[in-house]
Structure formats: structure tokens, C-alpha cells
């Protein structure tokens, strides 16, 4: 589903990152480990098409994404990639339910309230749907973010340090949910993390 080939990235200051080739099939989970400064987030941004590689090929869902222009890249990302950011970002003026269907709206899909309800029940925050996002706890916010990444049934789910701010119990819960939900929609799951608690949880891993 997702595959890279000699992906390279260089910042303005000529610091060049070369990334190992990775490859992740549908319903599979890949853990990308690395300490700070090894370019974990850069790698994730490349995979999420938020940055453009200086060299190499990134194929998602049989499409060579390096050939896409900016506009089609945005559309492609909205359709194929769900991102769980390290920090739970939301549109603060909207409530939980509205933040979920916002993903549909921005990705040019019909707004699917039923799907949002389903995900909320599966992830256990259906009682919070009409609350403001700021009123939720960190763990709850993280679950809403996961639900949002699933709203458009993407082919790949990218999670950036999804557990770093959570305690052990919530960490296991979130990891379980991510894996289960990705499998249920047949998406490849890629987690970028330095969280050692996850190392034992997923066997398929690569270190930067």
C-alpha cells in the first residue's frame, strides 16, 4: 500500500536526511523508531505529502506521489492519508462531532454524521459528541483525533507520537484502537515514535 525508494530530504541549511526504504501493506502495522533529531517527524511529513522529498520515490495506493502537483497532492492526501498528529489539534470553535465531519467537508466528501457516531461509539467518546474540544481530557482528545483520521476511510494512517503524552493504561488503549480501527477499514498503519512501550507491542519495526 505504501512504499518508499531511496527517499531523501534536505533543509535549506543543507542538512540532508536519507531514509531507509520502507514498505507497508494494507492492514499491516509498521513502527518507525528513532531518537530525537533523527528526522522522524520529517520522515512522517514526507509520507504525509506535507513536505516534498528532494530525491526518491514514494508510492501510495499504486500512485507515484512525487509526480503529483501541489493541488492534486492536497486532494490525494485528503482521500488516501489519515494523519494523527503528535498534538491534538482541533478547530476550537466547533464541537467534537463537527470536528469529525469537518474531515469529510475539507476532503470534499459528503458529511457523514452516522460514521462519526459509529466511530465515537467504537472509540468510546459518544457521550462527548456535543462538547467543546477544549473540555476533553488529553486521552479523549487523542481518541477524537484517531476517529477524525478514519473519517474518510484512508488507505494509509500515519500517527506521529500518538502515545507520548499518555499514561501506560491510555497508551495501550490508544495503540489497540489504532491497530483495530485501521484493520477494520483495511488501511496500512504507520506509527512514528520513540515510545519504548510500543516496541514490545508491534513486531514490525524499523529504526532510523
Amino acid at each position: 500500500m505504501l512504499q518508499t525508494n531511496t527517499l531523501k530530504f534536505s533543509y535549506q541549511n543543507k542538512q540532508v536526511f536519507s531514509f531507509p526504504d520502507i514498505h507497508c501493506k494494507s492492514e499491516e502495522t509498521l513502527l518507525i523508531l528513532g531518537n530525537s533529531g533523527t528526522g522522524k517527524t520529517t520522515f512522517l511529513n514526507l509520507l504525509a505529502l506535507l513536505l516534498n522529498p528532494s530525491d526518491g520515490v514514494l508510492t501510495i495506493n499504486n500512485t507515484d506521489t512525487t509526480m503529483l502537483n501541489e493541488k492534486s497532492k492536497t486532494d490525494f492526501r485528503a482521500k488516501n492519508v489519515g494523519i494523527v498528529f503528535q498534538k491534538p489539534y482541533f478547530v476550537n470553535a466547533l464541537n467534537v462531532s463537527e470536528n469529525l465531519v469537518l474531515a469529510n467537508f475539507l476532503g470534499n466528501f459528503p458529511m457523514d454524521k452516522l460514521k462519526a457516531e459509529d466511530l465515537a461509539i467504537n472509540l468510546g467518546f459518544d457521550h462527548l459528541m456535543s462538547k467543546k474540544v477544549q473540555e476533553l481530557s488529553g486521552g479523549e482528545q487523542q481518541r477524537v483525533c484517531i476517529a477524525r483520521a478514519l473519517m474518510n476511510n484512508p488507505k494509509v494512517i500515519l500517527a506521529d507520537e500518538p502515545t507520548s503524552a499518555l499514561d501506560d493504561e491510555n497508551c495501550q488503549k490508544v495503540a489497540d484502537l489504532l491497530e483495530k480501527q485501521s484493520k477494520s477499514i483495511g488501511a496500512a498503519l504507520i506509527i512514528v515514535t520513540h515510545d519504548h512501550r510500543l516496541k514490545t507491542r508491534f513486531s514490525n519495526q524499523i529504526t532510523l
Binding site: D75, I83, N92, A93, G107, N108
Partner: protein
Amino acid sequence: MLLKIVWKNIWAKKLNSFLCILLMMFGISIISLLINIGNQLQDKFSKNISGIDMVVGAKGSPLQLILSGVYQIDAPTGNIPMSELQSLQMNSLVKQVLPLSMGDNYQGFRIVGTIHPYLKHFEADYAEGVGFKTNMEVVIGSTVAKKLKLKLNDSFASSHGLEKEGEAHGDKKYKVVGILKTNNSVIDNLILCNLNSIWEIHDHENAETHEGEVHEEKQDITCALVKFRSPMGLMTIPRLINQNTQMQAALPAIEINRLFELMGIGIDAFKALAIAIMLISGISVFVTLYNALKERKYEMALMLSMGGKRLVLFLMLMLEGLILSISGFVLGIILSRLGLWLASRMLDQNFNFDLQQNMLQKEEIYLLIAALLVGIFAALIPSLGIYKINISKTLAND
């Protein structure tokens, strides 16, 4: 969905939004009120002036002469003998002379002695009854009839002076023989009779107080409205009168221009103030949106990462600014209509002068455009910030 976000964002910043709308509202309402009152004053003033080229009366302030003679709002300058008008009437450049004699009132409405052509000059129509023929018969304007609930054949005693609280002329009573249709001119507020009625009442007074003295027949009038046959009259006659007689001649067109120029300074000052308020409103929209964008940089980056187009988000922010300024405009117009209503009630009580509630004036459309421009410019710079957001950097750094 987009509108919902815009609306919720405005609602989330209630106080800021309220301030923007409030400032815009006051700016708009002050300007709109000035425009409306100014236009209507000018309208009424020029309607009453039309056709009258010159006013002659006792020496004094020319503006006062015009205000009292044409508009019936100021005190008269004094009296002039009727005989002085004779030579004026003979002049071949003069088309018509309309003598007016005032000095009494009934319940605050002026009683004016005149001749029938005065009514004809305003193209007055009778709603009921006929014109005055003999002494002590009066024709009343529509406002007078409405306010004082006077009907045909009612009679009343006048009181001396132009204010309500005058010494009453109790023994002689006027009788209503005609009621005029609404004319939208000064005669709506007048009680009209022939010149003799006025003279009779005051001669009688004189006779009473100065009993035994030899009574001298003296026919005074207050002023006269003059129409010329040609513009030549305008060039020569006023100067002749001012130099050679005890009377003064005043030209309504010039005096009213002077009056509006004097008022204009005040109106301009108010307008400048209102424009300043509107600009402050613009700045407040700017600051609100600018801060909002700073705070919402992450939101914007998030929406961009989820497939939002920059143009759409740009329009979303612009819309926020526009909604604030448009609602300020609408509320401002409503407030100005309310103010107009209040002003109208006040003027009506004090001057028997009312203002119309108008639909949008032409100037108010310009005002709407100005409000939109303020909104657009205030929102433009913050909104353009959307194009500078670097998604990956914004979301990665904290």
C-alpha cells in the same frame, strides 16, 4: 459548514465581535442620521423658498427676516407701514407682492394675516370649506386642524405674541371657514386670515388701553414676499430698497445658503467624528482577525493538511470581517431610523416640524460600500496570512 465555522468563530469571540459591530454601528448611524436630517431640512427649506425671490420687512438681521417671513420659525424683525409697499407694487419688474402680518397665535400656531394669492402661491387646496372673505374668518392648515382638532365653524380667541403663553384677546373670536389639505409646506402650520382681522384686533386693543386719545389709522404689516418678473429685478430692487427706504430687502436663496454653510461646519465636524469611529471599527476588525489568525494558525494548518484549499480558508476569514461590518451597517441604519423618529418627535413638539422615515437614501448605499471597504481592507491583511502558513512547520513545532 464554512458558514458554520465563520459564525461559531464570531460567536466564540463575542466581546471582540460586539466591539467591532458597536463601533461600526455608531459610525454608520451618525452619518446616516446626518444625511437624512440634512436632506430633509434642505428639502423643506427649498420647497418653501420656491418662487419667492425677495422678502421685505423692517430693518434687522436678513436671516431673521427670512426665517420669520418664509419659514415662520423665528421672531419677526418688526413692522413696516403698508403704504411703503405701494411703490414696490407699482414697479414694473415686480410680479407679485404678498403682504404678511403676524403677531398673534392660537395654542402656539401662528395667525397670519395675508391675501388670497398667498394661498395660491403654495397651490393650497381646500379639504373642507372656503377661503376667508370677511374679518375674523380663518382658514387653517392641515397640521393645525389635526393637532387642535378644529372643525369648520369652530371659533377661538387668539392670544398675543408668537408663544403659547400670551395675553389673550378674549373679546374677539375667530371662526374657522376653511381647512386646507396637507401641503407639505409652511402653511400646514398656519392659521390664515385677511389683513384687516389682525389690524382690527390690535386697533381695538389700542383703543381700549389708550382711551380718549385720538386714534390714528395705522396699517402695519410684518413683511412681504416678493416675486419678480425677471432676474433684472433681483439685480436692482434689493439695493434700491436697502438704500432708499426704512425697509430692508433680503434674498432667501442667499440667506439660506448662508444658513446651510453655517450648519455645514457642524455637520462636517460630526461627519469627521463618525468617519473616525468607522475607521476605529475597521482597526478593531483588523486586530481581532489578526489575533485570531495568530491563535488559529494551528487550526488553519490543520484544515490545510486535511485537504482545505487556501483560497477557501482565505475567503472564510474575509467573510468574518465582512459579516462584522455588514451587521454593523444594518444595526447602524436601524439605529439611525430610531434616532430619526426620536428627533422627529422632538422637532414636532417644539417646532411643528416632522421628519419622514425614508427608505435607504442614495448616500446610504455609498455608506454601505464604505462599510464593506472598511471590512475588506481590515480583513485582507490578516486573511492573506493564510498563504504564508507552512503546514509541516506549524504542526510540528510547538
